[in-house]
């Protein structure tokens, strides 16, 4: 089915992301939905590199590169300046990685959304610090190898549930999205754009380099994350109204894990345990959405 989206692009063809980079795909879709009246704040992450070095930029919108932990605060300042100048039309967007969102930038993000600053915060999630060479973050899933969780020290903690943390702030809009579901992603960004106050979009963005997968299965892996319930697609309005956007047919997590080098050390037993963890999380979500 062809995607019913205009063919204007706000990203140039040349950028310096790796082949198959999910973060680059995510940016292209999100900008299509936002349009040219957008100012973007990018704290340190792979996108600080992908966007290109001085004097070039891969993006056709104004971009403010900022320090790693400042995504929420810098965007608050940009918004305040535009407001005082009477510009309420321009959308202010923070574009940050999982490290900049779940970890070092969490305080500034929490502060910004508690004040209900009028901006969209997009976290593209590649489940580790990729810019610095695949170190674990609090978004790295249970079971994963990274360069700081090598060998038998593979990560034994669950992935932090960032959307629920944001929902707990009772923000007007929070949603998950995936590069493998462009219609859903597009709709969510357009919906977020029309809402006032703090909006949060968590995009699953596969990383061939860090996940040890061939670049051509980047989108397939992202699709499987949704189909296995590892990364459910849902949205939450005003911190209370949950809507699940995709009900999978129950693929097994094994199939997803087996394709990725970062999980290759896991035993059948580990995978069974992960399967039950995923089911537990899914039930919890269904419960919140009033589905069970």
């Amino acid at each position: 089915m062809p995607l019913e989206v205009h063919d204007r692009d706000y990203m140039f063809a040349g950028h310096v992301g790796c082949p198959g980079c999910g973060a680059a795909i995510a940016m292209r879709f999100v900008l299509k939905a936002l349009g040219e009246k957008t100012v973007m704040v990018i704290p340190a992450c792979c996108w600080s590199i992908i966007a290109g070095a001085y004097p070039q930029s891969a993006l056709k919108i104004p971009v403010l590169h900022t320090a790693f932990e400042t995504g929420g605060a810098v965007a608050s300042g940009v918004r305040a300046a535009l407001d005082i100048k009477g510009d309420t039309e321009t959308t202010v967007v923070t574009w940050a990685g999982d490290g900049g969102t779940f970890d070092i930038g969490f305080q500034a993000l929490s502060g910004a959304v508690e004040r209900n600053e009028d901006f969209i915060y997009v976290c593209y999630d590649n489940e580790a610090y990729m810019n610095t060479g695949i170190q674990r973050s609090s978004s790295t899933p249970y079971g994963a190898w990274t360069t700081t969780t090598p060998g038998r020290d593979w990560k034994k903690m669950r992935k932090k549930n960032i959307v629920e943390a944001l929902v707990a702030h009772r923000i007007p809009y929070a949603a998950t999205a995936s590069i493998a579901f462009p219609e859903d992603l597009f709709r969510k960004v357009e919906k977020a754009k029309a809402i006032k106050g703090s909006r949060f979009i968590h995009i699953f963005a596969s990383c061939p380099t860090g996940w040890r997968i061939p670049s051509e299965i980047s989108v397939k892996i992202a699709r499987m994350a949704v189909q296995t319930n590892i990364f459910p697609l849902y949205e939450v309005e005003d911190g209370v109204r949950y809507t699940i956007n995709f009900s999978p047919k129950g693929y097994l997590v094994k199939e997803y894990f087996r394709l990725q080098g970062r999980f290759k050390h896991l035993t059948e037993k580990d995978l069974d345990q992960i399967q039950s963890m995923v089911e537990e999380d899914w039930k919890l979500l269904l419960h919140k959405a009033g589905g069970s």
């Binding site: 001085y54 400042t70 929420g72 300042g77 535009l82 100048k85 004040r115």
Partner: protein, 394 residues
């Protein structure tokens, strides 16, 4: 109009007169009166600014980096731990060439907790690319804050207005508060050369590889050099409108002086008192007050000190493993003179300890009585510390 104002409120009045557009701040003693007063101004509508009550000093500076990049006039205030927390972003603000103004109330760094005055917090930020201006009186605090915006916007560099905790921040003094019309004449609306603009999309602060980074750094230094001359021109304009000026340095009775006390901040006022007594006794003493610390006015300092026999630099700060920070800078400024004074370095008043006239007199007498200064800084007025030594035996 003359009003009796607390030093903190002098800062706030100047920020109102400057018509700041975005303020972001986080409370810390002894800076809080500044941001509380600015909150009042925003609440009563006498200042039409967006006020961001952020969750940390780090986010205060980050928010102003965002706002200033979008082309509006910005202000924050902090002290000590708060300034230290901002450190990374202080570099960011100057590197991005943003004319942010920050009022910094000098307070000692912990541990132990100490809210009293000490310059080590601001001087520890001397390499961050901020212009630094040290104040002595309430009037100077107000005037310097207003001046800071103009200087910052002229050279596209951030400016720190520095004032002593309590001695200035919480002390009431009669202050001449300019009218809005005069203030507007001195400080026209901010017209940035570059800003975030969807009509003219640009990327700011992006990756700068080795082939361009050095030139970018050099341009900051070029801005600092312009600021040195720009400060004098700006003050000249200020004097034309308001009839007051301070100078990057102020020389008091230096023409025939044999020993010059080099000071900054409120210690200068106490020295002025001492100077009267010394002069009445026929002592050939003088004071050189340093107001502009970055860019460092080495040329004029050389001019005033080159013909004296001795200089005593009084530092309410310390660089561990080295010495008094102003003293180090003064010595560096003098080192290539063929004939130079002996420079004595004194450490006094750390953590808000009172520096009295008699303390300063003793500093003067020590300088007078010794031909050659010791290698290390002299800590004035050290006392034995009461030690609590618990019995660690079983």
């Amino acid at each position: 109009m003359k009003r009796v104002l607390e030093g903190s409120h002098s800062v706030a009045e100047a920020v109102r007169l400057a018509r700041a557009d975005v303020i972001a701040a986080y409370p810390i003693t002894p800076q809080t009166h500044i941001v509380e007063r600015l909150s009042d101004f925003c609440a009563d509508g006498s200042l039409k600014a967006r006020y961001l009550r952020v969750e940390s000093e780090h986010s205060a500076m980050a928010a102003l980096i965002g706002a200033s990049s979008a082309g509006v006039r910005t202000f924050t205030a902090t002290s000590s731990q708060g300034l230290a927390l901002m450190h990374e972003l202080l570099h960011w603000a100057s590197g991005a060439r943003l004319p942010i103004v920050l009022a910094e109330v000098n307070r000692a760094l912990a541990p132990g907790w100490n809210i009293w005055t000490d310059q080590t917090d601001s001087l520890a930020q001397r390499d961050t690319g901020w212009i630094q201006l040290y104040c002595e009186t309430g009037q100077e605090v107000l005037d310097t804050t207003l001046q800071a915006f103009r200087l910052a916007e002229q050279v596209s560099l951030p400016v720190m207005v520095v004032l002593d905790a309590f001695y200035l921040s919480h002390t009431y003094e009669p202050v001449d508060v300019p009218g809005q019309e005069e203030a507007d004449r001195f400080l026209p609306a901010f017209r940035p050369r570059f800003m975030l603009n969807t009509e003219k999309p640009c990327a700011f602060n992006q990756m700068a590889p080795p082939d361009v980074y050095m030139e970018m750094r050099r341009s900051i230094q070029d801005g600092m050099k312009v600021a040195l001359g720009g400060f004098a021109e700006m003050e000249e304009e200020f004097r034309r409108i308001f009839g007051r000026s301070y100078g990057a340095v102020e020389a008091i009775s230096c023409e025939d002086a044999e020993i010059i006390l080099v000071t900054s901040g409120t210690i200068t006022s106490t020295c002025r008192q001492l100077l009267k007594e010394l002069r009445s006794r026929g002592e050939k003493a003088g004071i050189l007050k340093i107001k502009l610390f970055r860019p460092f006015p080495a040329e004029s300092i050389r001019g005033y000190l080159k013909n004296v026999r001795k200089a005593a630099v009084i530092d309410r700060n310390f660089s561990f493993g080295s010495g008094g920070i102003f003293a180090g800078e003064v010595k560096a400024a003098l080192c290539d003179l063929p004939e130079r004074p002996e420079v004595f370095s004194f450490i006094a008043g750390l953590g808000g300890r009172d520096v009295t006239i008699s303390d300063l007199e003793s500093i003067y007498m020590q300088t007078k009585s010794q031909d050659v200064p010791p290698q290390e800084s002299i800590w004035a007025g050290l006392r034995p510390l009461p030690v609590y030594a618990p019995d660690l035996k079983e």
